[in-house]
Symmetry: C2
Subunit: 300 residues, 2 copies
């Protein structure tokens, strides 16, 4: 199971009760936090996200609307007596900031933060069930996107068929990963006779704050769900370029060229009270587009 | 006019939709912000406080629930194009933190912050209408309280009486400050014949986070309204000592010994969902006690 829950869908200036960027990615029993704008811990409380279950936090870049809520979240985890390690993947200067904030408060956390500074593109977390990798995007300051992928899942043993073909249970692990079985008397038992296909692995890419950049396409190609920012409607293309952001048409063009399954758009400028046009404009280019709405979980 | 608007009344861990500490002091046409926990800018939007009118911000100490919202507020002021200078009175390390946060974001504010590090007790802002001073309180890390006082207001000219006694308007300014007038033919016109008394100057003291400390009494003596923290109910006196906080009875005892007009209590622990007992317990010692409720303005 892979899903994305939106905690904040606004750009830098909070407005119309929309909050700065934060998302929860749920991958089976794991919770990941992407970005952590001011008020994220309150949004988590509102939408019943369990802080204690988060082991990995990814911060795309050091504009405040993507991280000002992090120190509050970390401090609260400490006040709640957390002991579980926390892995933090973020631009390097964030470590200095957090250390300074804890020092001036004379606070020692009861848990360990493993700080992983973002640098080269590549895999950040490798697990038997999933992997998370990062890639560079084109913003005013160094900025990274994140790609969450379920890895190939094991095929499912069909117990009735394995019994019928007399495959010993000691061979099940090899069956799960696709091997055929040869019986003692030399008969070949094809894997697909005794197993069912693995569920299709799913993928999600979060491309953070970015200007229109076709270099992004290779990095997100074919994901099932792409989050791409649309700070502006299509008529503000000039402003989007100046501020290293995107319009609806630009995001939808990237989604289309990358052949993604679905596009989810967010990071709406506080210029806009209503969001309807974001959806309709993006759909002019890429019909399978949805709005990132706060408090909603989108199943990939 | 002197009033206090509560934006956050909770202690460190946000809970039950209560927010960390922040208050607006309104003094005639001036707005002051005291402390700025995470989410203060959202609370300001909710309660229609105009950020642009704030020229002075006072931060009591560097525990996060008293300042984590400051950098977001400052950044938003910048995004909104503020040009007015901002005066920030806070423990010295906050400057380093803000500078670092602006630097990593590659942000230059369009307005000037005048940073005034807190140190000695005394007057911070002196204006013809008011003064703001700071005093030390007893907390786990260096911590300051703030005292807002209207200064002696000018007496009010009674135009009918000045006309009747033939006092020239060129003498009005001296009348306002209490002088008598002598006519050309030597008659003495007493000030009280031609002016009405000035309104009584009002005062408010915010004693921040503090343990029970009778040294506080001299610093807040006789204020019209005292804010004193009551993190705990009266049965948790031991915990209050350990954590440099106060109980209801302790806050009310200080208010009583200092002879203040009214006590307003806040900084409620997230242990407590309901606040009724805070009020009733404090009133056992100091009857004129009220709860600090978010979104409410208390006229001094």
């Amino acid at each position: 199971m892979l899903a994305v829950t939106i905690l904040g869908n606004n750009s830098a200036l909070p407005a119309f009760d929309r909050h700065p960027t934060a998302q929860i990615v749920t991958l089976d029993e794991f919770l990941f936090l992407i970005d952590c704008g001011e008020g994220t811990q309150m949004q988590m409380a509102k939408y019943k996200i369990r802080r204690s279950c988060i082991q990995h936090i990814f911060i795309s870049h050091l504009h405040g609307d993507h991280y000002f809520g992090l120190i509050g979240l970390i401090t609260s985890m400490g006040l709640l007596g957390r002991e579980l390690d926390l892995h933090l993947y973020a631009p390097a200067p964030l470590k200095e900031l957090i250390d300074l904030q804890l020092r001036v408060a004379d606070t020692t956390l009861p848990f360990t933060i493993h700080f992983h500074p973002l640098g080269d593109e590549g895999v950040l977390v490798r697990h038997e069930k999933f992997q998370v990798s990062c890639f560079r995007v084109n913003h005013r300051i160094p900025c990274w996107g994140f790609r969450f992928e379920q890895v190939r899942a094991p095929r499912r043993i069909n117990p009735e068929k394995t019994l019928q073909h007399e495959v010993p249970s000691s061979f099940y692990d090899r069956l799960k990963w696709g091997e055929n079985y040869t019986t003692k008397d030399g008969r070949l038992i094809l894997n697909e006779w005794v197993t069912d296909p693995a569920p299709k692995p799913r993928s999600y890419a979060y491309s953070a704050d970015t200007s229109y950049d076709e270099n992004l396409i290779d990095k997100i190609k074919g994901v099932d769900l792409l989050y791409h920012e649309t700070t502006y409607l299509k008529d503000l293309g000039e402003r989007a370029i100046q501020r290293f952001h995107c319009t609806t048409h630009q995001a939808a063009t990237i989604a289309s060229m990358a052949g993604v399954g679905q596009l989810i758009i967010g990071h709406f400028s506080s210029k806009y009270e209503k969001l309807d046009l974001f959806e309709s404009e993006a759909r002019e280019i890429f019909p399978n587009t949805i709005l990132a709405l706060e408090g909603v979980s989108y199943r990939v």
